[in-house]
Amino acid sequence: MGGRSLNSSKGQKSASNKQLVSFYQTMLKIRKFELKVAELFGEQEMRSPTHLYTGHEAVATGIIAALRQSDPVVGYYRSHGYYLAKGGDPNAMIAEFYVKATGANRGKCGSLLLSSPEVGYMGSTAIVSGGISIATGFALAAKLQKKDTVAVCFFGDGATEEGVFYESLNFAGLKKLPVIFVCENNFYAVQSRISARQAISDNIYDRGSIFNVPGAQIDGNNVEEVFSAAQKAVARARSGEGPTIIEAKTYRWHEHVGPGFDTDFGWRPKEEWERWKAKDPVKNLEKTLILNKVLNEKDIIRIESEIDKIVLKAFEFAKKSPLPAPSELFKDVY
């Protein structure tokens, strides 16, 4: 407990080649969707605060791959990755970005509050830390219902400064709840550096040690490592051993919200950005797959073009969909 990785190796299997290819497809899908969003953002048709996940793709992909579709996931405003990895409908996602009636949330949420409860992506929150206790509640229900469901919450490094994180860790540790707390530590909250906000900024994975919640700190840009940590945590949770923290170190390429870059106005050192760009989770997996002869250049081209089609179709669907009618305003308040 409290080490940089979980001691137990139960439930650990390294990903098969087939799985790795599927991870690659998911990650590339997330990437390509966001590239298109960034490209078209200036058109002013996707009008809602949009927080790009580019750079983080391995985290959502690797964690969610270790789950069942029925396992509930709660995310935060940087929500596109969870939605797609969980199997949410791409058309409905882009329609939601265009705030259309056909959107995943009928135009009520936009990018930052996306969800798809049908596939277990239960909700996003735009309040930092807001989902942590809710995911813990999913796990509480699983325990009360004696189901082997596992709940997952994704959140940023900033969320670990909010008290509700510790309140939930204590309760999850006390009741041995089947919940996995996934912190995507990208070292920034908006423009604010983690060292300006946290007394010890390198121990998020270990913050559960005082509550009997073990943790692992992993390379969030390496989907195999993410998947492996997730499998261990899921196995722990499903077998009644309780919660786990996974701290995945990663990096956000874009500015906090919107399609620009923090390097544009000199806030982040260009060098830092370049260094992390070299750790591109998608490209690096692609390289490995080619190196290990799991895929060849042709396969890549095929996969790319399949995804391009999905992306294109989704934007077409979204653009031609109608806006919500005024009567939608008062629906679903209660």
Partner: protein, 347 residues
Amino acid sequence: MRQLKYREAIAEATVQAMAKDPTVFVMGEGVDDPKGIFGTTRPAYEAYGDQRVFDIPLSENATTGWGTGAALSGMKPIMVHARNDFILLAMDQIANHAAKWSYMNRRRVPWTIRTIVGRGWGQASQHSQSLQATFAHFPGIKVVMPATPYDAKGLLLSSIFDPSPVIVIEHRKLFERSGNVPKAFYKVPIGKANVIKKGKDVTLVAVSDMVREAVQTVGLLKGTRIDVELIDLRTVRPLDIQTIIKSVKKTGRLIVCDTGWKQFGVASEISSQVAELAFKYLKAPIVRIGLPDCPTPCSYSLEKVFYPDYKDIIEAIKKVLPEQKTRKIIPYSKMKITEIDNFTGPF
């Protein structure tokens, strides 16, 4: 008919809800202890044990999120807080999350928060607030305030089985009061005010413990010609404004008595809606009765001036009715007060 105390009615509703539906459970600080929550949760604990009635850490904000997650998973959580002051710590989960979840995600959050207003005996500023207006400001939340043992049971049962988040605000002063409570499982509908007494001169709307005071006042006015129509609001959100409007159309006069602060409070909302929807029926200004503009003091000498009572209601009646109607009201010194505060603490 069978008599139960307000607190016994709450306890009975809890047990019956749990008997009827295995997804109902109770969590809260001290819900399993023999004195805890004034005896309202212990019977459920005794009947259903610590898997369905359990103690939790002091973490109000997270607790509300645990309830939301559980509710979204098919459970019906009842969260209990000994004072509504404490759930100001949970405002984020109540107002930013539970209130909006259905709107955002089209999945409903059927939880219930039970919480209590403290009043009197030196509860002072942090244990006496009556915060219905604060919670009711948020669409997506429902707020009920039972004033009788009958409603305490029936409204709690409605709340537990309501598909939306409901905050049940009980009142400490009512816990030992008795009233008719049928043994059977029954519901009192949320969003429906109760016309306790018909009358034609003035409409008196009261909330929670102020219903007690209003009933006493009506009693004190027996022998005058004043025919009060007394309405127990029962639900703060959604407001049953139609019942009030109907009454005001008849009486032309309205007094609203709330347990919370007057400013930005429930009485203001009712007053403004009536002034908008029934303006031409009004024969006199609407009078709001609520707490004055300061925190709750501790000393009983100050509590006496802080909390409104029958005298404030009678003064309001004198204000809205013509003099010939109120002439027969006897002096306060001659009134036989039945509502004597015999609470003796320590909490």
